[in-house]
Symmetry: C2
Subunit: 305 residues, 2 copies
């Protein structure tokens, strides 16, 4: 069992979906990631919130042994994001971004947390991702997330960070945007040529693809009757995936495939409620049950023709 | 082993894709369907072509024991379709449709072909689908395809045909358009309430979903580096699916799942070249090889957490 260090945002979100509206709910990439990963392995979190942050909202993470001693309370307001989802949930518009304390924040890794077994860099400015990599010593495994904004505005930094990563988690559109390839096979090959040995491409309701040393694995998307709020689905996906790799301390095709399924299960819970609410009182038996659903969803017997 | 009766179009297509342009290639829903289904079961084809049709192009179907004695050569020109695909192949524009002999055609079922084991109604005007159903006697199993055009212009007829079908093959967008439901689970439930016990939703590069008596199966999409021409992918998919159901003469969840995989394999070959060209000299060993790829693509071992 390895320990995970996560560096990312801890935020306050305001979200509108066709199913409702919630103001000032818990958000952030590190929050969602830790909420999922902590079911599987010990998590240490580095990030910043403002003086106005309702720290009580993080109690459920502490109860699950997430070490929050790397979470700084800075002077000023917390990072806030407000967004609205389209009717089919496939598009979202950012209504407001207030950087607050994040604006002048430079992540610091506590001395005793350096050289982590597993380092996950949530979706933050790739310049900061790079700084964390310089500070973190020699992580055994490095996993990174990124987003369209950084690909558009800081492509060179994104590529530099990718060169250091063992695994990257990226959206389908972002993979195409980054590589200018339509075929995801070609896109994954190109990203792989820059550094990461494992490329995980998220496809929302369609599931996820894993590319690893010339092999491909396709994870189905669970068919849900209702998706309440997709926010944080990608981060909980990464949390389940990296959590399982840390739990097993393995990094091969078999474990990566299982990790992708566990990530998909975590994400499928996360979208059932606003913010990470559904993960708060989730039980391990429920996760196992959903993994069994994934197993069944794509299984078929031996075909003879 | 049951025999399949297919009623649909036999056409001449002109196709532009980012990978090339081909004028006057073999097309039509019945053609593509028969090209795929004939690997698995005997096929009888009902349709019409014009006096200008290059009947030699159908030789490969005859060689595979497709009975073309129900293919009428009418006075006038063959049905022609011309289309252009967008860069990512996800959208196509119809450039030209020339109905020709189809305009005044009313499908007739030869007397000795009535009461078929398996009847597939390709994507033609639902009024004609209904007429075929009236003429066909008592088919043991009825499979139908439809398209957005008919849903927009002849919804009532589409619903009447659906009420008679055991299985419907429909695109994701068409399923949503038909039911006005975003969730495919809800869409499939609604379609099922109108008649069909099996609903197969095609999702292009993302694979296909099968809904059957409250159960769901998700077939992955094969990741291809190059797609040359998607025309007829849906019909070859249906051909593989219905072909397998006819070959096994079974209609339960296990056989439907396997049929969906065989259909996916057939479609994945079809898109490798223009028209049904790739299916002309395809060998059964290649199909088996691709089915094995599908088996591997979505498999993962027992997960313990």
């Amino acid at each position: 069992m390895g320990t995970i260090l996560v560096v990312g945002t801890v935020a306050i979100d305001s979200i509108e979906t066709p199913f409702g509206k919630e103001d000032e709910v818990l958000g952030g990439s590190a929050t969602h990631f830790a909420a999922a990963a902590s079911f599987l392995a010990p998590v240490r979190l580095v990030g910043i919130v403002g003086e106005d942050f309702p720290l009580d909202d993080l109690k459920f993470l502490k109860a699950r042994k997430v070490d929050l001693s790397g979470l700084k309370v800075g002077r000023g307001k917390s990072f806030r994001w407000a967004g609205r989802y389209s009717y089919d949930m496939n598009r979202r518009d950012t209504l407001r971004t207030e950087l607050g304390v994040i604006e002048n924040y430079s992540p610091e890794i506590p001395a005793e947390w350096k050289n982590p077994d597993h380092l996950f860099l949530g979706n933050i400015d790739p310049k900061f991702q790079m700084k964390v990599l310089e500070e973190a010593g020699r992580p055994k495994k490095i996993y990174i997330d990124t987003m369209n904004l950084w690909i558009e505005t800081q492509r060179k930094w994104v590529e530099e960070v990718l060169a250091k990563a063992h695994l990257v988690v990226i959206n389908e559109e972002e993979a195409r945007q980054l590589t200018k390839e339509t075929s995801l096979v070609k896109a994954a090959k190109q990203i792989g040529s820059w550094g990461p040995v494992a490329i995980v491409i998220k496809r929302g309701e369609y599931g996820a693809l894993l590319f690893y040393k010339g092999e491909i694995f396709s994870a189905p998307g669970l068919q849900l009757e209702e998706v309440k709020d997709p926010t944080g689905a990608g981060d909980t996906f990464a949390g389940g995936l990296v959590g399982y790799l840390a739990m097993s301390d393995q990094f091969d095709f078999e474990h990566l495939k299982k990790g992708v399924i566990i990530g998909s299960a975590m994400a499928s819970f996360n979208v059932e409620d606003f913010g990470p609410n559904r993960l708060k009182d989730l039980e391990i038996g429920e996760i196992q049950g959903r993994i069994a659903e994934f197993q069944k969803l794509g299984s078929f017997g031996k075909i003879e023709i």
